[in-house]
Amino acid sequence: MTGFLNIILLSLLVSGVATLAGGFLGSLAGLALGLWDFPGRPSLLRLIRTLMGMPPVVAGLLVYLALSRRGPLGVLGLLFTPTAMIVAQTLLVFPIVTGMVAAIVALTDARARQTALAAGATRTQAALSVAWEAWPGMVAAVVAGFGRAIGEVGAVMLVGGNIGGRTRVMTGAIFLETRQGNFSTAILLGLILLAVAFLVNLALERLERLVPR
């Protein structure tokens, strides 16, 4: 059934782009938070850790209100489009990756940086070597972020509208099938969702080994 395939592809597209965007920005923010000590850093870390638990439906609500025609970004006409779903999921992925990367970097920081500095590296080179050292952990953080995105229903339903053939992703389809009482289709979609998540994780695992030890 081509409907299924479209739904799966859109899920991968939306959650994939959100993971890339949130993962990239979150890695940078996490590196900065883990590497540098600056005034206000503990409060910022606390805020990030709080946002790691942000309910998807709250992220969705914020994006919904911003993108609604009556909202500040209403002229863009983006509500009920895949772009809106990507923005909402990026908001969910970003704090998770930031928080995890900051923790991982803080753990590897002292050791790797001292070794690098002792070998005569500049500060930037030392920072890079920390990032190098923390790479597998950063990949794990992005994997966690992807898991958050592909599995959530609250944000994508709210800002995407669950429009068939346009903004319906796997979780939204499962929700709709369940609401209509088609439990077997819902279960089937649930199994597909798990299988897809498994395959994506397999692929990401290879990324972990990208950096030669």
Partner: protein
Amino acid sequence: MAPGCRKPKTEFILATTTSVQDSGLLDVLLPAFTKAKGFVPQVVAVGSGQAIAMARQGDADAVLAHSPQAEQEVEQAGFVVERRKLMSNAFVIVGPPADPAGIRGRSVAHALQALTQGKASFVSRGDNSGTHVKENQLWASATLTPAGNWYLKAGQGMGATLAMASELKAYTLTDQATFAVRGGPLQLEVLVKDDAALDNPYSIMIVNPKVHKHVNAAAARALAAFLLSAEGQKLIGEYGVDKYGRALFTPVK
């Protein structure tokens, strides 16, 4: 399809109540409409409360709802125009076949009175949907205030609420269409029906293009015209006969 691509003129957003989607009616009506008129509706199925809020905010082009009072308010406020009755079905009160509250065959007012005795639970939608608004009106016109351990607020769609009522051996108010589609496997029976107070009119309206300039009024008008045409009304009147043995909605014409 590129993410975020602007909607071409043939596409428009139809905000609608879940019952017309979950009953399968839209799957029959909309492809016929697209074939006849060339417009492609993007269906956002939510409760009538949110559908009407979407009209206010300008986040939809057409609205199909069954919440007459809220529709009238939003129409008087100027956010929607050309509101017309499209079809109706009836609400019914369903409950466990054993009927512990003894409401079978009674009038709505008497049935609600009996339910407040708390011999069994009543599951309310509790989501400001058209059905929930209707339920509140029924309690109000019976001058009763539902409160107590027996009164449960589900906060979910009609299908989920019916399933919950069945599991809890409780009563609930439902539209006949959703009950016909979802009630089969459930331990629920229609106990109160055929009361004038239980009428459930559905209306179609377009979001006012003078208030929200971007509204695709041409597409919204085409949908309303199609649904009210002889062809659209015939499709509505016949829907469900083959599958459920009876029509789920009554057309206006």
